[in-house]
């Protein structure tokens, strides 16, 4: 039994179906990437795990089904989410944004905050800054930090590097690698950039218009010719 099991997952916006019959399994301690173009359904997939869309099929974490739970309950089950547009609280300070993440994990708030500041020292320096004045890279750190404040067993990150400069992308990737390496946190990221995904993840899943096209390790997918043309640009 895998740590995260997504089975026959379909997701709907009203009558429109954005995901169709997706199966993904993620082992504990892995970094996994879901790769797809604009509109492939990457954000929908992560939103669905978080209980934010109407779904069919099942999602299990550590054997327990998340399907039908409220987002709050899913957070309490140990899922942290750094969404695509961050969804930060713009007129609240960095500190207050992080503390909202501690809403269901109040007893561990001090320890988790220390952990976040260790990972992103820049946030400690800027703890009083309101996030609407921050740069994209800083917002991504706050977003990741807020997700970590919930004390997750599974971290979902939607396009961690979109719109960021190469140096910042590198830093964010490094932070994710560190998180995974030091605490064994299981991480699922989504990416449009397959090369970046490959550099970070042990397994990749290719999503096309709501359906899973292919799954495999970086090596397996890297040798597929058709895939190379479509996603790796060579």
């Amino acid at each position: 039994m895998a740590f995260l099991e997504i089975e026959g997952l379909s997701a709907y916006y009203g009558k429109a179906r954005a995901l169709h019959n997706v199966d993904i399994a993620v082992e504990k301690g892995e970094i996994v990437a879901v790769v797809g173009a604009n509109g492939a359904g990457k954000s929908t997939l992560l939103d669905s795990i978080m209980g934010l869309t109407a779904i069919k099929g099942d999602i299990r974490l550590g054997g327990e089904s998340l399907a039908g739970l409220s987002s709050r309950a899913i957070v309490e089950q140990g899922v942290g989410y750094a969404p695509e547009r961050f969804n930060l609280f713009p007129y609240m300070s960095v500190f207050d944004n992080l503390m909202v993440g501690a809403f269901t994990a109040r007893d561990e708030a001090d320890r988790n905050l220390q952990h976040v500041f260790d990972l992103f020292p820049r946030l400690a320096e800027r703890r009083s800054q309101e996030t609407y004045t921050q740069s994209g890279g800083e917002r991504q750190m706050v977003s990741l930090g807020r997700a970590l404040m919930t004390g997750p067993r599974l971290l979902l990150v939607d396009e961690p590097t979109i719109g960021l400069a190469p140096k910042v992308c590198h830093d964010i990737a490094e932070s994710l690698r560190r998180l995974n390496g030091e605490t064994g946190l299981t991480i699922v990221i989504t990416e449009q950039n397959a090369n970046f995904a490959m550099s970070l993840a042990s397994h990749l899943h290719i999503l096309e218009t709501g359906e899973l096209k292919m799954s495999g390790t970086a090596d397996e997918l890297g040798s597929d010719e058709e895939l190379n043309k479509a996603y790796f640009g060579h």
Partner: protein, 283 residues
């Protein structure tokens, strides 16, 4: 002159308290709660019933008013706002209808003659040329204490931060483990209690009558529209502008003008600065 300044300060404190419960709902739930004035009326009548009919001590009367207001706020959210979720026009029309229904209920129970509340704290205080009733002084001090308490609560507690979070980004709040529905419910309860307590002070400053919900509603609407959403300090400043405008116009021009300038101010700001003087950009 000193009369105007002192009366203006005291009245403004009361107005800030009147507005804050309304502002809270508008900032967090994005609902113009047009039944808000009715919370004040209920607070006033509940206080009247428990202290002047049943003879309970004042503090118990205020507590009962707060409890009634809180329950009505919660019921209103559960039965109306949540059911009509997202349909702002329907919510606002039904809140206005609710206010009229409550008014009819008050007439039924207490008849439609107006009633004078005994001062919460009797006596007057003379400083300089000015006289200040202990009643309005108590109302102003209590208002400030409640406002400061509320400010600290919203800024420094988990629930308070969650309230701010829901007001700024519902999805962001939900993925942080905050249940926006529960936060809305809590906010409606707090707003109802604040409105009812403000109503006790307001009624003791004016009088109890089944149409008393209109004037405080206009004050609250004015503070939200002129101050803009999401700015507690902005609301306080606007409460003072309105309070002073009213004292100045009623003492220097004519008592009949009470409220008129407030309405003119609402229209002026709507036309010239729809976001309000201190408002943030819509998120």
């Amino acid at each position: 002159m000193s009369q105007i300044i002192i009366q203006g300060l005291l009245l403004s404190g009361l107005y800030a308290l009147i507005a804050v419960g309304f502002t809270l709902i508008f900032s967090i739930g994005r609902v113009l709660n047009l039944a808000y004035g009715a919370y004040l009326m209920i607070g006033g009548y509940v206080y009247y019933h428990f202290t002047q009919v049943l003879g309970l001590p004042q503090i118990a009367g205020i507590l009962m008013a707060a409890i009634f207001g809180c329950v009505i706020g919660i019921l209103k959210y559960r039965l109306i706002v949540k059911t009509l979720k997202g349909d702002h026009v329907a919510v606002e029309i039904s809140t206005l209808i609710l206010a009229v229904v409550i008014q009819a209920g008050i007439v039924l129970v207490f008849n439609d003659s107006s009633k004078i509340l005994h001062p919460i704290v009797p006596g007057v205080w003379r400083i300089g040329g000015a006289t200040v009733t202990f009643n309005i002084l108590t109302a102003a001090l209590a208002s400030w204490a409640i406002l400061i308490g509320l400010y600290l609560f919203v800024r420094n507690t988990h629930i308070g931060r969650a309230m701010q979070a829901v007001s700024m980004d519902v999805k962001g709040a939900a993925i942080s483990g905050v249940d926006p529905d529960r936060i809305n419910l809590i906010t409606w309860g707090i707003s109802g209690a604040l409105g009812a307590v403000a109503g006790v002070f307001f009624a003791s400053y004016t009088q109890l009558s089944p149409s008393m919900w209109v004037a405080p509603l206009i004050i609250a609407v004015a503070v939200v529209i002129v101050g803009g959403i999401g700015s507690i300090i902005g609301s306080l400043i606007v409460a003072h502008i309105i309070g002073f405008m009213e004292i100045i116009s009623t003492t220097l021009i004519a008592a009949e003008l009470r409220g008129v300038f407030t309405m003119l101010l609402i229209i002026g700001v709507l036309v010239m600065r729809p976001r309000g003087l201190f408002g943030r950009e819509e998120l």
